[in-house]
């Protein structure tokens, strides 16, 4: 959770606070970004890349959504519409009010990665929790060695943040994208995101990796990186589990000995790799 000196998005971590949809735009056919501002006007929320908020669509339900960018007074959340709550959030028009609690969870440990090469790998909507991290890397470009962003989606139409991808390239990042399926008019790479690892120019031994996407994709990606010489202590993943309290009390998000909401969602791969292979955990 946010440290005591930081401003939370509301007065209590258990009480949804009113935030207004300032803007909403469609990123792809089933993904929407909401820009939220405090409804009361004087609110603010100090978040770090990797953390998430609980967004409440009134009368429908509450779901965890990562902060995908913005500032302390304008939070961006990028939402893939998969079920009732995410669809309700995706349908909100500017001016609508959502309930918001947070920020919760651990952040990407970027400070510890200073001076190292970075591989930032995302699958599908997994680019959202990484976007603010990549923006920070761009702002502090000199603090890192080679930086590669590897991004895989199902099809070209599912690729998020086109302008950002261009901007990251201009900032000197190696941005590699691939799609699982495409017709022959598509000029870019076809293949799973793990196949992009062989294009990375960084040195495995000096590399820190940040991964976010479907669990199975992260497992394969971590394996591929290990083969490229990246130590599992330098691989970080963001996990998803169903959540309710988001404060480490209800146990809904329990994964063996850890609570994803409080101990994560960002974990060192070496601490969770075994847990993810235990059936039904």
């Amino acid at each position: 959770m946010a440290a005591a000196t930081e401003r939370a998005c509301g007065t209590s971590p258990l009480l949804p606070h009113a935030w207004r949809v300032a803007e909403a735009w469609r990123e792809t056919g089933d993904v929407v970004t909401l820009a939220l501002e405090p409804a009361a006007g004087d609110g603010a929320c100090d978040w770090q890349p990797g953390q998430f908020n609980m967004l409440y669509a009134f009368g429908v339900g509450e779901v965890p959504i990562s902060v995908s960018g913005g500032t302390s007074r304008r939070l961006l959340h990028t939402i893939r519409e998969v079920g009732p709550v995410t669809r309700a959030l995706g349908a909100l028009a500017p001016g609508s009010i959502v309930g918001l609690r947070g920020p919760f969870g651990t952040a990407w440990p970027l400070r510890e990665a200073r001076g190292r090469d970075l591989v930032i790998a995302a699958g599908g909507i997994g680019l959202a929790p990484l976007r603010a991290l990549i923006d920070t890397v761009c702002r502090e470009r000199d603090a890192f060695g080679q930086v590669a962003v590897l991004y895989g989606t199902r099809s070209p139409a599912d690729q998020l943040y086109g302008p950002d991808l261009d901007r990251w390239r201009r900032a000197g990042l190696q941005v590699e994208m691939t799609v699982d399926h495409a017709d022959v008019d598509w000029r870019g790479p076809v293949g799973v995101v793990t196949s992009l690892v062989r294009r990375v120019r960084s040195d495995g031994q000096r590399t820190t990796a940040f991964l976010c996407g479907p669990e199975i994709m992260m497992r394969f990606m971590a394996r591929e990186l290990e083969q490229a010489g990246v130590a599992d202590s330098h691989v970080w993943v963001s996990l998803e589990r169903n959540m309710q309290c988001a404060t480490g009390h209800c146990g809904h998000c329990q994964l063996g000995p850890v609570f994803v909401c409080a101990d994560g969602p960002v974990f060192a791969w070496q601490h969770v790799r075994r847990l993810l292979t235990v059936r039904a955990l």
Binding site: V82, G123, G124, I125, G152, T153, R154, D158, T178, D180, H181, A182, D183, V184, W186, R187, G188, P189, V190, G191, V192, T194, S195, R198, R199, G213, P214, I216, M217, F220
Partner: protein, 153 residues
Amino acid sequence: MKSLEELIGEHPLLAGFAPAHLALVAGCGSNTHYGPGEFLCRAGQPAQHFFLIRRGTVALELEIPGRGPFRFSTVTAGDVVGWSWLIPPYEWQFDARVLEDVSAIRFDGACLRGKCDADPALGYALMKAFAGVLVKRFMETRLQLIDVYGRRD
């Protein structure tokens, strides 16, 4: 200019090969170039070669009757195209269409098979190298089949 032996020794497939083996393998290879729209191979044709890609991009496609070509992968520098030369009936299973100018080293399959039969240590080294490529391709195909980014329902 680098010799063929040096070039193939730099390719990930053959990195770590003993110099004597590299010399044997190089004896079956030649430098080639292909322009956009050309094919390295076409499904159904005899698989007499395989290719180590040094530059450029190649799309691997299957022709689906009634639907046209389906692109299942693209390969680029550091990749390998073709293992059908290793396994009977030595026939290509897909089309390899050049998207961006390709520089590759093309190997004569029959020549290499002959050398592998005569030198089992070379044969084992080459088999291990190709097994690695095949396992990787299998894993990637499985991931594509699972459709990891699809809905969970």
